[in-house]
Assembly symmetry: C2
Homo-oligomer: 246 residues x 2
């Protein structure tokens, strides 16, 4: 983590490196949490799901430690406006990581319920693919932060559109399966929750990447972002499916 | 907002009062946003829904201004550890308010879709009641902050259980309506989203109240909180309904 800043290393820099190391550690735990939650669903492994649920408290503890440390650094170093911005952005990133961890825990919680239900077409592997892509995006977002690589961060932001597309496709599939056979409804409601959770993870990863863009170039989210979750605004998308049930 | 702190007013106190005034203003906008989003759904008022969607940028702008101001205060006043904690907690509260505003905007987004669908039993008025209760909780959470009223904050945290109960009940109802008639599926999927959004608003209001408890007594969330959204963990809840469709 050297070479991040162009001037001679100060006490503040060393503190910042400590904070950044904590963010990376936290990021690693969150990546593992997404991976394990998705695997526990796919293989219906309740024990693994339980580990994910219990592991979330370690992520929460890291966020709290990180906030304490950031507050300490602000208090004793009284950083310049620019340095302060870096510390505040790290705090925002850790809040996003904590939220992703929560979503992952929520995902794992449903493993126990889904174990008792029939599989719904190929939706399980679609969900697994979606989770894997979010996990990769998170890894790249954290790398882009460490390397202050604006292009990689923008790349992550753009890939969130793919996640939104995957979610839109799954949403259609769940509707179709429910309309085809009412016995699919309960399982589809749970799977839909999970898909939506992963889609929201993508939003939080995007928020992390946006912080990186802001730190490297000063550009704000609305100058870079596009959005493509359309299920809430596109009546045609659901109306078409609604007709099938009529 | 006088009399909040027991010592002679300092430059820091005046800054803090300014920040608190901004939080209250932001809270007022978010309360109105919840109210209008719920009303737009209930009366199928697309124009009002559009105003809610557009109004969210004012909430986002306030959060940003508040963060800038908080960062400025930290930088120039170099507050003591205790004072710093107050400023950081205000930043967390504003992040929660911003998220509630987002959820309210998402709720309003679905008005346009639902206008084109049939009403689902009495679920619309249940949703309206749930939204009104969250709005009241938010008002009380902000009052508890201004008055440093720990008991009121704890009361808000406990009322979140009622919101979770309302959500659990609605979840059952949606499943039942979907099983009864597949033509209800699409509308129920959208209404379920909305109910889940309101339930999540309740969680963010709870997080605000938890900050108040922490500020007044130093107690942490896990020392005060209970949780009762059971749809993800209670297989019986969904299994019972699943049987009905078999």
């Amino acid at each position: 983590m050297n070479g991040l800043r162009g001037h001679i290393s100060s006490a503040f820099d060393r503190d910042l490196e400590g904070i950044q190391a904590q963010i990376i550690k936290m990021g690693g735990l969150v990546e593992a949490s997404i991976r394990d939650a998705a695997r526990s669903l796919d293989t219906r492994d309740e024990e693994l799901a339980e580990r994910v649920r219990k592991g979330d408290s370690a992520i929460d503890a890291l966020e709290e430690a990180l906030n304490e440390e950031a507050a300490r650094v602000i208090a004793i170093r009284a950083p310049t406006a620019t340095d302060l911005r870096v510390v505040l952005s790290v705090m925002r990133m850790s809040a996003n990581l904590e939220r992703i961890g929560d979503l992952s825990k929520n995902m794992a919680k449903r493993t126990g319920v889904l174990v008792q239900m029939q599989a719904i077409g190929g939706t399980s592997s679609s969900i697994k693919r979606m989770a894997r892509e979010v996990e990769r995006m998170l890894k790249d977002a954290l790398d882009s932060y460490i390397q202050r690589d604006e292009q990689l961060a923008i790349d992550v932001i753009e890939r969130d559109n793919d996640i939104d597309q995957m979610y839109n496709t799954l949403f259609r599939e769940f509707l179709t399966f429910m309309l085809e056979d009412p016995r699919n409804i309960t399982a589809c409601m749970h799977l839909h929750f999970i898909a939506k959770n992963i889609e929201r993870m993508g939003d939080h990863v995007t928020a992390i990447a946006e912080q990186v863009v802001f730190l490297t170039s000063g550009r704000k989210p609305d100058e870079i972002r596009t959005k493509s979750d359309r299920t809430s605004t596109d009546p045609a998308l659901s109306a078409a499916l609604d007709d099938k049930g009529a």
